[in-house]
Every structure is written in C-alpha cells, then in structure tokens.
Symmetry: C2
Subunit: 341 residues, 2 copies
Amino acid sequence: MIEIPPRMVGLDWGTTSCRAYLLGEGGAVLDRRLDGRGVLALSHSSENRTAAFEQEIEGLCGDWLRRDPGLPLVACGMVGSNQGWAEADYRHLPVDLTERPESLTEVPTSLGSLFIIPGLFKDGKVGSPSEHPDVIRGEETQLLGALPSHAEGTDDDGARSPAVVVLPGTHTKWLRLDGTLVSDFVTTMTGELFGLVMQHSIVARLAEEPSAPDMDAFDRGLDVAFSAAGPLPAPPTDIATSLFSARTLVMAGELEPAAVKDYVSGLMIGAEVERFARCWIGEEDRAGGPITVCANAQLGKRYARALERAGIASALAPEDAVVAGLWRTAVALGLIEKENS
Amino acid sequence: MIEIPPRMVGLDWGTTSCRAYLLGEGGAVLDRRLDGRGVLALSHSSENRTAAFEQEIEGLCGDWLRRDPGLPLVACGMVGSNQGWAEADYRHLPVDLTERPESLTEVPTSLGSLFIIPGLFKDGKVGSPSEHPDVIRGEETQLLGALPSHAEGTDDDGARSPAVVVLPGTHTKWLRLDGTLVSDFVTTMTGELFGLVMQHSIVARLAEEPSAPDMDAFDRGLDVAFSAAGPLPAPPTDIATSLFSARTLVMAGELEPAAVKDYVSGLMIGAEVERFARCWIGEEDRAGGPITVCANAQLGKRYARALERAGIASALAPEDAVVAGLWRTAVALGLIEKENS
C-alpha cells in the first residue's frame, strides 16, 4: 500500500491573481505565494497559453513540487473557464458541496497532474425572462471552506434551515444553502461596475484617492441607497441615477473629492444589499441565522454594515476559507490522506 | 440705428464633439461643420486650454466669421463647464426656457465674442438623502428648440399640463415641464455605464459587433428589465445582476455574440424606463400627452419602444432641435433680429 502524504499544493487561480498554498496536516498553511498572475494576463498569449500557465506554476511553486515529487496539485477558479487553462466541468444545482465531485479535470504538467475543481451551474428557467443560467468558479471551494465543520457530519438528520452566504468580489455571488446543499445562487456585477466607474467614468475624474477608508462617506452612500426602499421612491435611486450625485455633490462643495470612492462604494453596495434583502432573502432565510459574508475584512465590513441597515444579522467567514476548501476537496477526492480526527 | 444681420454661428459644443452651424433667416441651416473636437480632447492641454479652444473655432468656422465680421457666435454645452473653456452660470429651477437668460458668459476671441448659454441647476433637498443637486449643460438649448413654437406664445393663459421630455445620451436627462417652465429634472448615467460595460467589462469580451441593430435582442433585454416590475421580483433584476446574463446566455449557447450589444442595450434602457415609468412619471404627467424623446432616430426608437412597454406614448422631437434652440436663444437675447412673423 502506497502511503499518501498528508500534504498538497492548492491554487486559488482567479481572473486577476493566482495564490499558491503549501498545505500540511489538517490543512495547515506551511508556505504561501500570493503574487501569481491571473487568467486575464495569462490567456492573452493565446498562442502559447499552455506554456504561459505552466511557467506561472513553475515560478510560483516549482520548488515545492520538485522538493516533494508527487505532491497533489489542486486548483479552483477561473483557471477552469474557457478563458483559462483547461475548461473544467460544472456541477448542476442542487449540489452537496461535501460530496465528491463526479468529474475532475486533469491537466498534465511537467510538475505532475493539475486537478481543477468543477464549478457550479444553475439552469435558466425556461419561459421566465429574468431567470437566466448562472455560473460559479472558485467560490464553491471558498464556500466549502467556510462551512462549519459540523455541517459536514451526516449524523445530524434533523431539519435544516436554509442559510444565505454572500461572497462579495468582482462578481459577487449570493447563495442559498440547505445545510451543505446549494439550492440557488445569483451573480451580481456590482464589484466590476464599481471598478469601471472609479477607473473610467466622469465620476472618477472628480475623485481623489482617500488616504484611509472613509466610512462616513460609505454610510452616506448607504443612506441614499436605502432611501429608495419604499414602494414609490422619488426620484428613483438606482445606481445609474444615484451615481451622478457623486459628481454634483463635489461640484456643489458638499462632498470632498477624497470621499467620492467610499461614497460610491456605499451607493453601490447599498443598492445591491437593499435589493437582495427586499427581493431575494426570505423569511425562511432569515430564520436560518445570520448571513455568512466571505470576503476580506475591509469588504466584509461594508457588506455587514449594509446588511445591518437592512435589518439582517451577518457573520464574517475566516479570510482563508478557500484554503480550507481546497484541502477538504482534496481529502474528499482521496488525493490526500483523511486526517484522523 | 445699426442693422442687426439675421444670421449667426451656433455651436453645440459637448464633451466628445463640437458641431458648428451657420444659420440664416428663421434659423435655416446655411452650412454645417460637424467634426469639431469636444471638451474632453481640448481640455487635456490644460496649459494652453484657451489656445486649443480658439484654434478649434478657427478651424471649424473661421471662414464664416471672417467673411461676415460681427456675426454673433453662440455656444451651448459642456464648453461652459469647469472642464470647458469658461465656466458659464446656471439658471436655478424653476426656469422658463423662453425667458431671456439673466447672464450670458462672454469669452473674447480673435474672431469676436463667444457667448455661452447658461445651464440649469436643481438644488438638492436638504434632509432627503436621495435628492441631490443636479445639473444640465446643453440640453436646455436642445429642449428649447424641441418646444413647439406655439408654446412660446403668451396669449395662451389657459391651464397647462405638465409634460415629460427625455433626452437620452451619455447622461440621459428626464425633465418635467409646465408649458415652457422646467420644474424638475433627473440625470441618469445609463448611457455612460452602457459604454463602460461594452468597452471594458467581462461582457465585452464575449460580444461581437453586430452588422446591423438587432432589435429582437433589444426586445429580449426589455423582457428581462420589465419582468422585474412586480412588487417582489425574484431574482432581483437590476442592471448589476441582469448584465451577467449577457455572459451566461452566450456561454450556454442561448445568445449570439453579435446580439450581446443590443441585448445589453435593452436590459439597460429597459431598466431605466421601467423605473422612471414606475417611480417618476405620474398620472398628471401622462395626462400631459405623449412624452417627447429628443435623440437621434436609432436611440429615440429604443426609448420609444421601452416607453411603449411601460404603457406610455411618446413622440420623437426633430433631430436638429439644438439648432433651433441656439437660434431662439440668440433671438431672445437680441443678438439677432427677431424675424417677422
């Protein structure tokens, strides 16, 4: 019997970055390299895309893999998209996150096989124009890592309440879970739109980079977003309309240029959370306990603040949830020894 | 008594372009030059901004002004903003468009004085976070030109119904008028966001330029936007959320890459019109007759279609409304002889 080493290399390989983790016993982080290039930068060299991805692995963690040949190499994220290295499958909803994925995409590399974790897919409802197909790549692993470990137990046969998890980012994902089963999710592009607005729009021209986050300006943005919560708001404060206030308030001397960024952050996160709270998060979801927010501390705080404004309690997941998710997936797949517990 | 020539040069000088018109008797267009550079291109040379603007006039219509010295030169638009040539005043609401502006910004040039028409300003309501200050530059002139000429008459003392006018563009303006009196307006950045999304976002990466406008795709976008019109839409189809469908539908083979642009156009114009129809256009507005749409034929058609979906009749204003507006303003200011009528 071959002894499987309780170690692995996990890659969180997204659109704009690649983070590599050397993991040991129980998923402990032994080493990390956080400055790898993302799919966007690497896929531009479409001629030699494979070589570009392979070089990136080599540069990031070639030493780990050479020192310890045969170390399992597992990745999640946009690396498995059609713009990534190799297109990985999707698991179709409903999906139990703790179940071993049926298929895993294996990519041969000079450093051994790279396994890419499948994403999640939701079919669009036929005949309902507002229900379109939706996809997730990478967040399923982050989510698995954020699940409390007791949720994986099968001894709890009692009724489970749905729980809502939000993963803010470039493309924020709102998910509904029943225990470890993902029953629904929705993507919203607030983060990407925020980036476009603060980089390229007329609002950006008046803004100055703040020296520190200005949470008063953020709260002011929330005020505007939530003022539209009534049945007949006037004027309609969707983002396309409210964004212009970032310009006119500066022009009128009522907003500092250095406060624009956080004000716009409040407008946009506020609009998103207000809407999801009103239209998507039901009574049953609220009964399932606080909403879990999976994000870095700074962004997580903003969502928590907006959710509080909507009367919804939230709890922040550990920042390295994706690392725990990579480890748990590798264990479920039998790529590493199940730890004794 | 000096005879004032019934001719003038009018400039529609906006953010991205400058259009010059040589106008004669009754506002007839004798000649036009449509390829001048806008404020954005000219203000970049901040050192010699004045010289850049002056050169642009010289190049566009120096021959007109030299052939006919003393010809009045009148401009409207962003040329009068703090990023333009000289900052022109605003008139504060309510404003009667046919009234002679109290102040006119006069800029000396080597070709004679340039007069810049003031914009419109709406104060933000203190204590109401969603009512922010708002501004207009240029559309006030377009609007004046779009008014039916009988609206200028003072012999009609009967009650007037409010009327709504929409001027779609980079920053779309929705205005409420009582006869020739502007009582309210709201800016919405749908056009600019559409440009950002189709130029820089992940949606743009999957899109192909259509060979001709695809109005079926546009209508499909409207379907999605209007499906959220109920009191509790699920999932919430604001633009940040619905935009992602342009990506997933292409991935699922349910939308052609060449249809993405018009689909997104439908999503975004639909979301705007649905919201304004629901939250801003009241019963009294609808009683005031069809909504006037001031835009080029292609864009105007899209707004008309979306308004129809909302059960609101609309009428397209003549495309050259801004030319009529420049003429009428010059007449009101006594810069040119009032035509005999």
